[in-house]
């Protein structure tokens, strides 16, 4: 009996009673078999942990999106009820003041109608290359819209000294996860430090500001885009008019 096959059947839950007996015997008497079994068992455990961590990260992303679209009813403090009620009243009052002062453009709507994830144009993933590089992993996750994982991979790439392109795509993934602040920081560093994606970074930075309701910076960034580049010029002008 092929030991590999036996292990396969174990992990595929396909062991018959007879084979289970054989399996148990080997486990007791064959140290190599036991080592191999332990290895696969550990792997199973590790993959489970990995999956759970990825999922939790995704949920944290969903939560941020909910929070940012629902800021008024946000009551996350652990104050006692009365102080919570007081701060809630304050929030409502502030919100109302802000609304009555600046009521005008709907930033979320403007963001949503203009934002489109920038396609991967820097790394070609082919089925046959089977590469193991971090870059490949990062862009594979990016193309699969698994942005939580892409962020992790891009951050690892940055640790290895890659910047510029990586920051730009990192920002895209952050935007997809609703992490505006992080996206803004990454885009700024593209604009300051990189030769590539400067114009594109301006466009996305303006959108990120828009998403975080920072109209002043959004307008300034759009103006700089229109003055210095051709990328998305018309859209930027339309957006500027809408914000005017």
């Amino acid at each position: 009996m092929d030991k590999e096959q036996l292990l396969y059947q174990y992990f595929a839950n396909q062991l018959t009673e007879d084979r289970q007996k054989l399996f148990n015997e080997l486990l007791e008497n064959d140290p190599d078999f036991k080592t191999q079994f332990e290895f696969e068992k550990n792997l199973k455990r590790v993959i489970k942990k990995n999956q759970k961590e990825n999922l939790k990260q995704k949920l944290v992303g969903f939560e941020k999106e909910i929070k940012s679209s629902d800021q008024n009813s946000n009551s996350k403090s652990s104050f006692k009820f009365w102080s919570m009620a007081a701060s809630f009243a304050l929030l409502v009052a502030l919100g109302w003041m802000a609304y009555s002062t600046f009521s005008g453009p709907d930033y979320d709507e403007l963001y949503a109608s203009n934002f489109e994830t920038y396609p991967n144009t820097v790394y070609t993933i082919t089925r046959s290359d089977g590469g193991q590089s971090l870059t490949r992993d990062a862009f594979a996750a990016y193309e699969a819209n698994d942005h939580a994982r892409a962020v992790t991979a891009f951050l690892d790439l940055k640790k290895e000294g890659e910047t510029g392109q990586v920051d730009f795509y990192l920002a895209q993934s952050y935007l997809n996860l609703g992490k505006d602040k992080e996206a803004i920081a990454a885009l700024k560093s593209v604009i300051v430090g990189s030769k590539e994606f400067k114009a594109e970074a301006h466009w996305y930075l303006a959108l990120a500001y828009l998403k975080s309701k920072d109209e002043v910076n959004a307008v300034a960034t759009l103006k700089s885009l229109v003055e210095n580049f051709d990328y998305k010029k018309e859209k930027a002008q339309t957006l500027l008019k809408a914000l005017d």
Partner: protein, 190 residues
């Protein structure tokens, strides 16, 4: 009659679709928070518990413990959530009032009593393995995850990922395992 907004099925969740994940998260969030409020943890803690409960629920969907929905997803989440909240209260050394005694078993508790709730710490060996697993190529990680986590057979992997034959899948899996073993070995040798 079919409604425009279809119900999320177990299959949708099992397929790992992000859209289904998100919809289930959003649809049950407020219900859960309302339910959790009676235990007097902070809202932030409750959200954290909700997410942990969701992760555990999803894990049990994946490992086959939940084979069909006998109750609404919310009921599962409440059951897990209640367990997690008690654990937290114990940790915070808050006295669990008899009102919340675990022995008062609701429908939701029975539903989830076969679930794996506890997450044990990884052994040093597993930590090493986790690191090197993360360093594998996308294809390897996916293949091994399908097999060891999602319980796909070699044949199912072949069909789901357009491999030509089962042998190609087997060979790919062996290669991935070999790489993993070699990298760990190299790491130990250092």
């Amino acid at each position: 009659m079919k409604e425009a907004k279809t119900e999320i099925t177990l299959e949708d969740l099992r397929k790992g679709s992000d859209l289904a994940l998100k919809r289930v998260y959003e649809e049950n969030r407020d219900k859960f928070l309302n339910f959790a409020r009676r235990y007097h943890l902070s809202d932030e803690e409750n959200i954290d518990v909700y997410q942990d409960a969701y992760v555990i629920f999803y894990d049990n969907v994946m490992n086959g413990k939940v084979e069909s929905f006998t109750s609404s997803i919310a009921t599962y989440l409440f059951g897990i959530g209640k367990y997690l909240i008690f654990e937290r209260m114990k940790k915070n050394k808050k006295k669990v009032s008899s009102k919340y005694d675990l022995s008062i078993v609701g429908q939701e508790d029975e539903l989830v009593n076969s679930f794996e709730m506890e997450e044990q710490e990884l052994t040093p060996e597993q930590v090493l393995l986790k690191r090197h697993f993360g360093g594998l190529g996308e294809q390897c990680q996916e293949l091994l995850t399908l097999f060891y986590y999602r319980g796909y057979t070699i044949q199912e992997i072949m069909e789901a990922r357009n491999y030509n034959t089962e042998n190609v899948v087997k060979a790919a899996k062996s290669r991935c395992m070999k790489t993993l073993r070699e990298r760990i070995q190299a790491n130990k040798a250092h």
